[in-house]
Subunit: 285 residues, 2 copies
């Protein structure tokens, strides 16, 4: 196992490796004259997503990638958003499209996002992307589950291992289940209604926690060989904390990812890895 | 719990209930003058699927449902199959389309099936149907996982229960995982690479076995409270046997479904339940 110090995964090293891969790829594509372009669309100015919206634009610029960032008004009609997305879908200089969520209540996110062709769907949010993922076909997948897979790969989690996921959403738990199966792991998908959650987690080889509750996962959920991947990002008294109780777990589990600086820190990079893959998909399909 | 005698689920009663529901529904629709129509397409005459092809036609006729059954030649070109499927897709008297699998090796089943609109996809086989299922949207789902859910519903398996699935295919394990999550169960998806499969099954509340191996699931996989749903259909010395060792399990588990006469016996009915749902979807979308 590489990059593990005293039971904490060195996510900096993972991030650096992904970043280096992206830069190397961009350099090659740049020389051949076909750098990818990205489009980021938001409707309204949701304050919680403002930070992420700006961070993506900043990072794209750092990579030297062309960005079309569009902010539509809070009261934009469905037709207007659909037209914007269709225009970007037909724009051959745009290789990846992100529609920021949430959208204002009068709009249907799923209907809007489904107008993006799967080859440009770098959030892996369309029905076709999800169906292709389920079928095991080459496709783009949401960044968070891909980031979790990077961590499991980094620590070389053994094939066949039992992996508990505490999350059943369409952005984390469900796509992660498919990725785990494709990688020959054995996923168990847990949620608020799961009976004996502690016991299930304790008997698992790895636990991916995205419960949305600060320091939810305590010592009673783990064993001495547990691998804990913390997807949570919670604000507690002005500090960012994860869904795992890092301080009480780090000495007793085999491995744990920190928050901040763990899964979340590489998720924003994965978007650009997806952008490169999107460009390849557009050459194939 | 209804319809359980000495630990064996009375699948006849489940089948009768589903059949009665379908007949009642057809009667109402018949009176209003809009009975659904079904189209069944096969390419070549795969002997293993000949029986199922004919059985579906026979059953449709029993229900008084209009059937368009098409057999294309073994060497049919892709274009020819696509044209046939498109014609049926555009035919307003056809509400459900089945493309029999397997198709001959020179054809791409997935590409062909994806031309069927999700509203007519009564096998739940298209990428859009799968994506909609994953997203929790109203959609058509493959018959086998739906049949399993009928059994779990019949025995009133408690919400949150741990359900082991021994199968990770796109026709059974993966869609069943999504159905189980939507119904608040906790699925664990097992396969040939799973470590400690026996222990995982023994600790589960229910086991759905579709391992494709006759009498694979023996007493070492169960506990006295296990619910066993057997999806297997194997031919052994001229007899049909399941993937569970029925004789050695029926006395020690809480409930078990028989083979033949269990899940398989209602799967062919579910196709017609799907056809009714397909007709409703076509009114909505």
């Amino acid at each position: 196992m590489k990059n593990i110090k005293t039971g904490v995964v060195d996510s900096k090293a993972i991030g650096q490796r992904i970043r280096a891969d992206i830069e190397k790829n961009l350099e090659i594509r740049g020389k051949r004259g076909y750098l990818p372009g990205i489009a980021i669309v938001r409707v309204g100015r949701d304050p919680a997503s403002e930070f992420y919206f700006n961070a993506k634009i900043k990072r794209a610029k750092e990579f030297g990638i062309e960005v079309i960032a569009t902010t539509l008004e809070e009261d934009a009609r469905e037709k207007e958003v659909l037209e914007c997305l269709k225009e970007l879908s037909n724009d051959s200089t745009v290789h990846g499209i992100l529609l920021e969520s949430p959208v204002p209540g009068h709009l249907d996110y799923k209907k809007l996002v489904n107008t993006i062709p799967f080859q440009k769907d770098i959030d892996g949010a369309t029905d076709i992307s999800l169906g292709r993922l389920m079928s095991g076909e080459e496709t783009l997948v949401a960044a968070t589950p891909l980031a979790v897979m990077e961590f499991l790969g980094e620590i070389s989690l053994e094939s066949g291992s039992l992996v508990s996921i505490i999350n059943r959403t369409i952005t984390v738990g469900k796509p992660l289940t498919m990725l785990l199966l494709n990688a020959n792991y054995t996923p168990v998908v847990c949620h608020s209604r799961t009976k004996n959650l502690k016991e299930i987690c304790r008997r698992s080889d790895a636990i991916v926690v995205a419960a949305g509750r600060p320091r939810f996962l305590g010592p009673e959920y783990v064993n001495n060989n547990s691998v804990v991947v913390d997807v949570g990002i919670n604000s507690e008294n002005g500090k960012i904390v994860g869904d795992a109780d890092f301080e009480s777990l780090k000495g007793i589990v085999k491995t744990i990812t920190p928050v901040p600086g763990g899964v979340g820190s590489i998720t924003s990079l994965i978007i650009f890895k997806n952008l490169l893959q999107a460009q390849e998909l557009q050459e194939k399909f």
